[in-house]
């Protein structure tokens, strides 16, 4: 762990010192044990605050949209999921590869504070640190060890690319892909899909009824990188202002459609959603259909290729009655 931080800080400092980059995006510790938000480091000195701990879950990539504009070259630390975000931006021509210096961080999963709190309700938690396969939980009254696996974030349990898929330097050894990931990946989608249509409608409207249209899902999503989002446009007004189910469905359908074939499953939309709407279940449903109809495709792996909805094959099957 500390070695990890060491490596991060030194490589960031080095890159800044040598002037190879003028800004580095990583994570730093904030007020609480469960917070490791994105850090913007512009000098070797500041690099000391960088940290990579079980809560460095935020995807720093989206900040590149702004950063790359005002910096010649930006350094960025990426986990496997984050790195696919880089490819997302490259594929969307929102970023040039040479604009970024990428430090790859193989990642065996981020920890879910909720699960930790559930396990340690009473005593005050001071710090949660990784120690090999285990987590070291420092409590106000002593410390405990637990198996990391039991406390991972939902989204990390289904991660098929824990190792960065694009980078200039890999800071440490690759980690293995979790076993049984593929089985889990579409499990939730399937269980919903198996319900009767009325049940599905009830299920989704129940979920969406909590949506307050705060747009957090859109704002955190590296695939939602338009300069100006249609949801913010007045003429034509694609999305009504009324907060009724009709417009919520309109919003959710459109959002999902816009990331169809582009979503690389970082799961931030769902994690960040204040209403706890299972957005991954919708995104992944679209991934399933794309695999089924247009052939298996994983976004964020090859920035060169065209996304499934940007191309076609004459012999494509149709998901509707073509008669």
């Amino acid at each position: 762990m500390s070695t990890a931080n060491g490596k991060i800080r030194s490589s960031a400092a080095e890159a800044l010192a040598e002037g190879r980059v003028t800004l580095v995006l990583g994570w730093r510790k904030k007020d609480f044990w469960w917070q490791s938000p994105v850090a913007f480091v512009e000098s070797a000195a500041e690099a000391e605050q960088l940290t990579f701990d079980p809560f460095s879950v935020y995807n720093p990539v989206k900040y590149l949209l702004e950063a790359a504009g005002c910096h010649e070259k930006v350094g960025v630390f990426v986990k496997g999921c984050d790195s696919r975000g880089i490819n997302r931006l490259l594929q969307d021509k929102r970023l040039e590869r040479e604009q970024v210096l990428i430090f790859g961080l193989p990642c065996s999963g981020m920890v879910d504070p909720v699960k930790i709190r559930a396990a340690f309700p009473a005593p005050k938690i001071c710090e949660v640190a990784r120690d090999g396969e285990e987590l070291l939980v420092r409590l106000s009254d002593g410390q405990e060890r637990v198996q990391t696996a039991d406390f991972l974030l939902e989204k990390c349990l289904t991660c098929r690319h824990p190792n960065p898929v694009v980078y200039d330097r890999l800071l440490w050894e690759r980690v293995p892909v979790r076993s049984g990931v593929d089985a889990l990946r579409f499990a939730r989608v399937s269980s919903v899909a198996q319900q009767q249509i009325q049940e599905r409608y009830a299920y989704w409207t129940r979920q969406f009824s909590r949506c307050i249209r705060c747009f957090a899902c859109r704002n955190t999503c590296p695939a939602c990188n338009c300069r100006s989002c249609i949801f913010d446009q007045a003429e034509p007004r694609w999305l009504g202002k009324a907060s009724d189910m009709s417009d919520t469905l309109n919003y959710q359908i459109t959002r999902a459609f816009h990331v169809a074939g582009r979503c690389f499953e970082c799961g931030e939309c769902e994690r960040i959603c204040p209403a706890g709407i299972p957005l991954q279940e919708l995104n992944r449903r679209l991934i399933m259909d794309i695999d089924k109809y247009f052939g298996p495709y994983e976004a964020g792996l090859a920035p060169g290729d065209l996304p499934p909805l940007g191309t076609y094959r004459g012999e494509d099957p149709a998901g509707f009655d073509e008669s």
Binding site: D92, R94, C226, S228, I230, W238, L309
Partner: protein, 659 residues
């Protein structure tokens, strides 16, 4: 809100009988922005159009909605009308309340409701119409004719006649097409070669026309006035420059294969010209059968060629050229008879197709023009002619009538009688169809003068019986069973679209009907145009036709081409895509789906705060854009829009149509 005028047409009773016009007018008057609404018996009439122009002036109309027939009918008419009154033609909208309302609905009340909804929708769209201006496009003054049969030949000659350069592409080693295979032509019985070959020579001699024989169209890009076409000339293995057409090679070549031109009735060599009067009269080596190419030995033709024209090393040649217009004249294929085992074709040598019989009649054919039974080389006495083989047969053939069989069968009957004294033609028909100048008279001669026996009955089966053929049928008129022993059976097999017509249609992005014949733009009023501007049709590739019709259509196509190439420039379609650079992210999703390569990246310099930043945005080439709008949907932020069909307009239509 735009000052809008609504003009509702009765179209006589076509609309007025099903739609309550008064009610519609009253409703229209209440629609947002509508300051004037009125009705007219025939809005497309001069009076009707004057009413529009008048109203535009007196009521200072800014937008015009005409509720009448389909925009595909009169949109241009009314655009001119509003333009004449000083409005931009694209301020016009049409509500289609005839084809899509009064003609398909019965109940007056609901039809009226719908008509009003359609008008409301058109008004809503019109309010968001913007002035559009066509820009001028250059025209490439050169035409491409695909297919060197009589249709292509006639079209090429007429276009050249009008002073334009023409490239004529022919798949076979020689032009001439099907007509070259025919003997005499109905109803005049003048010999096909005698009237065709002079035209072939004329083509060869014209400085304006270049023949690309043994060649096929590979790729077509661009748009009216500016097509870019790639033609593949197959390796002929003969140097056209050196070859004198002496023909020695063809005499000495040791390989004999079925002659396509003579439908396998005789052999040709591996180095060959399809027929003696071929143009160009220079052979090609058919590499599938040439011993040098198949077995790596021989080279006889090379040895005997006095001009040293043989060149085994030749390769296919790809040539890309720009054209202003294209005429498609690829002709037809005679129907294959696999589904018609009952006629014993291929089982008994004396069962022939009509084209094979045509070759027997032909002086340059396998029998030197003598009608002889392939089985024993003796002239037939009784010959059964079976019509509608694979035509008018929805069960296992073509449901349509092949149009030419009745006439050429009458011709065959007559020629049989002329050539074989004492021979007796028996013609089995379902109906005899002879519309055409002097056609009926010609058919009359077949049975009056020449004594052909016409039997109204479709032959059910031909029973080979040793030397003879037993033909079983019925005479539907008398109700008598027919059991006829004949020496020869001639099958009038149907006219199919060319194999590969569908693929060519896709290259040209023109459409075909269910049987792969190319579609004309309008069955009556635009019979030689296609839906793709600048591409025209001639001859049987559009549907079964006889020679006079084919020639007429070819000349018509030529006139259309000449009219097009005669223009100084073309007005571009102004309903093209347009980028809103403020919204454009520059991710180029639009570029990925553009079928015309009309979208490109462009660097934008804009001030942000103090410094100027550069960013990528999409840019549309108005000349290349055809206005499909695929880009508008690919663009997530809706930054690229389609003029004339903007997001705003369509959204407004949706809102209005659902009210």
């Amino acid at each position: 809100m735009r000052r809008t005028g609504v003009f509702i047409c009765w179209c006589g009773s076509n609309i007025a009988a099903t739609v309550d016009i008064d009610l519609a007018v009253a409703a229209a008057k209440k629609m947002p922005g509508v300051v004037f609404a009125d009705q007219n018996k025939y809005t497309c009439s001069e009076i009707g159009q004057e009413m529009i122009r008048e109203a535009i002036r007196t009521h200072r109309l800014e937008r015009v909605v005409v509720a009448a027939c389909s925009p595909r009918m009169h949109e241009n008419t009314f655009r001119k009308t509003v333009a004449a009154a000083g409005l931009n033609p694209y301020f016009l909208e049409i509500a289609n309340i005839r084809e899509q309302c009064s003609w398909v609905h019965k109940d007056k009340e609901t039809a009226t409701d719908k008509a009003i909804a359609l008008i409301r929708t058109a008004v809503a769209k019109a309010a968001r119409n913007e002035a559009l201006f066509a820009s001028e496009l250059p025209i490439e003054r050169r035409a491409l004719v695909i297919g060197g049969g009589i249709a292509g030949i006639q079209a090429a000659l007429d276009i050249a006649e009008n002073g334009f350069v023409v490239d004529l592409v022919e798949k076979e080693p020689s032009i001439g097409g099907r007509m070259a295979q025919l003997d005499k032509t109905f109803p005049t019985l003048d010999c096909s070669a005698c009237i065709l070959t002079p035209k072939m020579v004329e083509v060869a001699q014209s400085e304006k026309i270049t023949i690309f024989s043994y060649a096929e169209v590979e790729k077509v890009e661009g748009y009216v006035g500016n097509f870019t076409v790639t033609v593949r000339s197959r390796a002929r293995s003969v140097d056209m420059g050196k070859c004198t057409g002496c023909g020695d090679c063809m005499l000495k070549c040791p390989v004999k294969v079925d002659s396509e031109f003579d439908l396998g009735l005789i052999k040709r060599r591996a180095i060959y010209t399809p027929f003696p009067q071929a143009v160009p009269n220079k052979p090609a080596i058919d590499r599938e059968n040439c011993r040098w190419f198949t077995a790596g030995k021989c080279r006889v033709c090379e040895k005997v060629c006095p001009a040293g024209a043989i060149d085994y090393s030749q390769e296919d040649e790809l040539r890309t050229e720009k054209y202003g217009a294209i005429v498609v004249a690829t002709g037809f294929d005679p129907k294959k008879l696999d589904n018609y085992g009952e006629y014993a074709y291929g089982k008994h040598p004396d069962v022939l197709t009509s084209l094979e019989f045509e070759r027997l009649l032909n002086a340059s054919g396998p029998t030197g023009g003598k009608i002889l039974r392939p089985s024993n080389g003796r002239p037939p006495k009784n010959v059964a002619f079976i019509q509608c083989v694979g035509s008018r047969d929805k069960a296992k053939g073509n449901p349509y009538c092949a149009k030419v069989c009745c006439m050429y069968t009458a011709k065959h009957a007559i020629l049989l009688c002329e050539k074989v004294p004492g021979a007796r033609p028996f013609v089995f028909y379902i109906d005899v169809r002879t519309p055409g100048k002097d056609y009926e008279e010609f058919y009359n001669r077949a049975y009056e003068e020449f004594g052909a026996t016409y039997i109204k009955g479709n032959v059910s089966k031909v029973f080979p019986d040793g030397e003879k053929l037993l033909v079983r049928s019925v005479d539907a008129l008398s109700g008598a069973l027919v059991e006829l022993e004949v020496d020869m059976v001639v099958l009038a097999n149907s006219v199919d679209a060319r194999a590969g017509a569908k693929e060519l249609a896709q290259k040209l992005s023109i459409t075909t009907n269910a049987y792969n014949f190319f579609n004309e733009a309008h069955p009556k009023l635009r019979p030689v145009e296609t839906h793709t501007a600048g591409i025209f049709l001639a001859g049987t590739c559009q549907g079964p036709k006889d020679i006079p019709e084919t020639v007429a259509q070819a000349s018509a196509a030529a006139v259309k081409v000449a009219a097009l190439l005669g223009k100084d420039s073309l007005l571009s379609n102004p309903t093209v895509a347009e980028v809103n650079e403020k919204l454009c992210t520059g991710d180029m999703s639009c570029l990925a789906v553009c079928p015309y390569g009309a979208i490109s990246e462009k660097m934008l310099e804009e001030r942000r705060g103090r410094e100027t930043v550069r960013r990528k945005v999409a840019e549309v080439n108005m000349a290349l854009c055809q206005g499909c709008g695929a880009c508008t949907v690919a663009c997530r932020p809706g930054a690229i829009n389609l003029k004339g069909f903007t997001n705003e307009q369509i959204m407004a239509e949706v809102e209005a149509i659902c009210l």
